[in-house]
């Protein structure tokens, strides 16, 4: 009875409290959450020529400290080639993991519930471009009730940044697609500033406010181009997104286009039951932006903090908000640093610490309690560094313990030495999600904290 009530609470109640912290804190509010010890981290990994079989992989690492195989790779499934493995996301029932390729526009759906220790390929969507009417580069795989929202980065007409979003059933059947609003076709949206570029990247929902928030990056031409070449190409550097779009979540129609110049990437919304705001960071201008609903009910965007020295191009990438909405981890890929910001006043974030994680650092995922912080290194195949300075790691998956003051290394897996490739998006798995227990000790599931 206790276990059942516990599981039931974890699965259902987690859906309404709108938690959005790090990995567990950064996922869809429609999804059950792991608020205790996760058993596995699933790492969507880019294949590298000359490293192992060179193929993209879904790599499973055992992260339960009570397990005999703790801190090791226990499973890997290769995808028959390189697809520019990038982001992944779980369905609302956490039974399937969607992982997409930015280059080939394929989406791989993995069954992670039949055996959470050994995901298996369930279905491959290989007609994404055709079904969506030309959207290229599936990026964010975001759970909505009984369906997945997939944002795009590009299009098949000019491979630039104009793009759209698609919806699929959890089983992988296409439902519909919508293009991002542009100056040519605002689709009824209000253009609040100078831009209506039609670019896309991430998406997050605030269902209580009927709001979907999307951000904007760049198109296939740029993300598949060598970084040095692109940085030297003035025209290419103009082709980055400068917008965040506020959508009507229920009708999937754009309502307002906000200027957020400099490629706003990841979006993380506050979990608090009265907190109507989200954060994003801009890759090119190195700022923290607050996307918020003002007292008049209007959604606004405001730059609220700097991230390092923008002139040195630290290049903010992944961010992770804590479950209590008080802290935001910010990775800057180019200098390999993670920074922690106090965001208890969302209008005035302040940096409270920083730490070198590696030669480059991209994704950051934290446990619900914030005590475990995971990092991976890879950004894009054509952008990643190929050499590391003395003492720095190049392609890795690392776990640090966080005690509120400092990050302490727990383990480090070198993905080059292991013949795996370049690790990117991390998602958590647990036996308890599916009514089971781990081999050594039960994983914790529970009700997220109420705010």
């Amino acid at each position: 009875m206790i276990l059942r009530a516990f599981l039931s609470a974890a699965i259902a109640l987690a859906l309404i409290v709108q938690p959005t912290a790090a990995d567990e804190t950064c996922m869809s509010p429609y999804m059950a959450k792991i608020v205790g010890q996760e058993d596995y981290v699933y790492i969507w990994t880019l294949g590298l020529e000359g490293v192992g079989d060179g193929e993209d992989k879904l790599v499973t690492v055992d992260v339960n400290p009570d397990s005999e195989t703790y801190g090791t790779v226990i499973h890997s499934i290769s995808m028959g080639g390189r697809h520019e493995a990038h982001h992944s996301g779980l369905t609302d029932d956490r039974r399937y993991l969607w992982a997409s390729g930015l280059d080939t526009s394929k989406i791989f759906i993995f069954d992670v519930h039949s055996d959470p220790a050994a995901p298996k390929l369930h279905r491959t969507i290989d007609d994404f471009v055709e079904k969506t009417g030309g959207v290229v580069g599936p990026h964010t795989n975001y759970a909505l009730p009984g369906r997945m929202l997939v944002t795009g980065l590009s299009n098949n007409r000019d491979h630039g940044g104009r793009t759209g979003m698609a919806e699929y059933t959890n089983g992988g059947d296409f439902i519909t697609s919508v293009w991002m609003p542009t100056d040519d076709n605002l689709q009824g949206a209000v253009k609040a500033g100078s831009f209506a570029d039609g670019y896309g990247y991430d998406a997050r929902a605030l269902p209580r406010r009927n709001v979907l928030v999307t951000s904007s990056f760049t198109g296939w031409n740029n993300y598949m181009m060598n970084l040095g070449k692109m940085m030297g190409d003035a025209e290419a550097m103009k082709r980055f997104g400068n917008t965040v779009v506020i959508w009507d979540l229920h009708t999937r129609t754009p309502k307002k286009i906000l200027d957020v110049p400099g490629a706003p990437l990841e979006i993380r919304c506050a979990w608090g039951s009265r907190s109507n705001y989200c954060f994003t960071t801009t890759a090119l201008t190195s700022k923290v932006w607050l996307i918020y609903e003002d007292d008049a009910g209007e959604w606004q965007a405001k730059a609220v903090a700097d991230i390092g020295d923008a002139s040195k191009i630290p290049l903010p990438v992944d961010i992770s908000i804590s479950a209590d909405d008080n802290h935001l981890w910010i990775n800057t890929w180019n200098d390999g640093l993670v920074r922690l910001y106090d965001i208890s006043d969302p209008f005035a974030p302040t940096q409270v610490m920083e730490k070198q994680i590696g030669e480059q650092v991209n994704m950051v995922s934290q446990s619900w309690d914030g005590e475990r912080v995971y990092f991976t290194s890879s950004l894009l195949a054509s952008w990643d560094k190929t050499t590391a300075s003395e003492g720095n790691d190049l392609q890795y998956f690392k776990l640090y313990n966080w005690d509120g003051e400092s990050l302490t290394p727990e383990f480090n897996l070198d993905f080059i030495e292991l013949g795996l490739g370049a690790p990117h998006q991390m998602r958590f798995g647990a036996h308890a999600l599916y009514g089971g227990t781990s081999a050594q000790s039960p994983s914790g599931l529970g009700t997220p904290p109420a705010h």
């Binding site: 009875m1 206790i2 276990l3 059942r4 009530a5 516990f6 599981l7 039931s8 609470a9 699965i11 259902a12 109640l13 859906l15 309404i16 409290v17 709108q18 509010p29 429609y30 059950a32 608020v35 609302d92 029932d93 039974r95 009730p145 009984g146 369906r147 919806e167 059933t169 959890n170 089983g171 059947d173 439902i175 519909t176 269902p207 209580r208 406010r209 009927n210 009507d248 229920h250 009708t251 999937r252 129609t253 039951s273 599916y434 009514g435 529970g446 009700t447 904290p449 109420a450």
Partner: protein
């Protein structure tokens, strides 16, 4: 509706239930469920349950009916069911002739933001649709139990009688057992974890993710709602949107046939 009388009562052994079959007013149900959730959680996770948005006034204005699309999400599956009188029927007997809101529940569900939420919202949808002459008789609600062991036709009939308004088309269904239930759950992607004791015997309890389906007259699923999304105002307007769409289609067909 083609209903077939069940030839004999389902031979299902009902486990002893000494705990929580409390059925009174909805308020009592909610209070009890809240208490159960609070008491059963391990000490370190004792937290007040935050009620789902569906229990409170909607924090935004529901989109205007007919002003937005509800793209088809696939066919609503069929299967063998029992109605609340014990008649054998097909699920398709209850969907297809008018917009239908279908929820999977079980009557002893103790998660206030699970099945009780679904029933609470559906009752509110019933009230909203019944109050409008344009919709009063043009939609149906179906509450479908996925606990055939306990939710016999008699039980779901008693359960439904507490919520169903007179003259409103709200059906309460169950099944003979797992053999007929499981294919339906699978077809609707309704995931359930049944709880078993140390001897491997089913304990009569389960965990599940809440899903409520909106189904149109062509038996196409047009929306799925879960806990964060389920609110009577939006569901009722979605039903109205399907009715407006059906009327437009009928008008178009009439013009074409002239």
């Amino acid at each position: 509706m083609a209903a077939r009388q069940r030839s004999h009562p389902p031979a299902l052994a009902r486990p002893p239930r000494t705990d929580h079959y409390v059925r009174g007013t909805l308020l009592l149900l909610l209070i009890w469920a809240w208490s159960a959730a609070a008491l059963c959680a391990p000490h370190e996770h004792k937290q007040p349950v935050v009620l789902a948005p569906g229990y409170a006034p909607l924090e935004f204005t529901a989109p205007e009916p007919g002003s937005y699309g509800l793209p088809p999400m696939g066919a609503a599956a069929d299967g063998d069911v029992l109605d609340s009188s014990g008649n054998e029927a097909r699920l398709h007997d209850f969907i297809g002739d008018k917009p239908t809101v279908l929820s999977f529940i079980f009557t002893t569900c103790d998660d206030v933001n699970g099945c009780p939420l679904a029933t609470y919202v559906m009752r509110s949808v019933q009230d909203a649709l019944q109050a409008d002459p344009l919709t009063a008789n043009k939609a149906r609600l179906v509450s479908f139990s996925f606990d055939p062991l306990f939710d016999t036709p008699d039980v779901i009939d008693a359960y439904g009688s507490q919520f169903r308004a007179q003259d409103f088309d709200w059906q309460f269904l169950t099944t003979e057992g797992a053999a007929t239930l499981d294919p339906i759950l699978s077809a609707y992607d309704q995931w359930v974890i049944r709880d078993y004791d140390a001897n491997g015997d089913y304990m009569g309890t389960m965990s599940h993710i809440l899903r409520v389906f909106l189904i149109d007259e062509s038996r196409q699923i047009r929306n799925i709602y879960s806990t964060s999304f389920l609110h009577a105002d939006t569901v009722a307007n979605d039903v109205r949107s399907l009715l407006i769409e059906a009327q437009k289609n009928a008008n178009t067909a009439a013009k074409t046939s002239r």
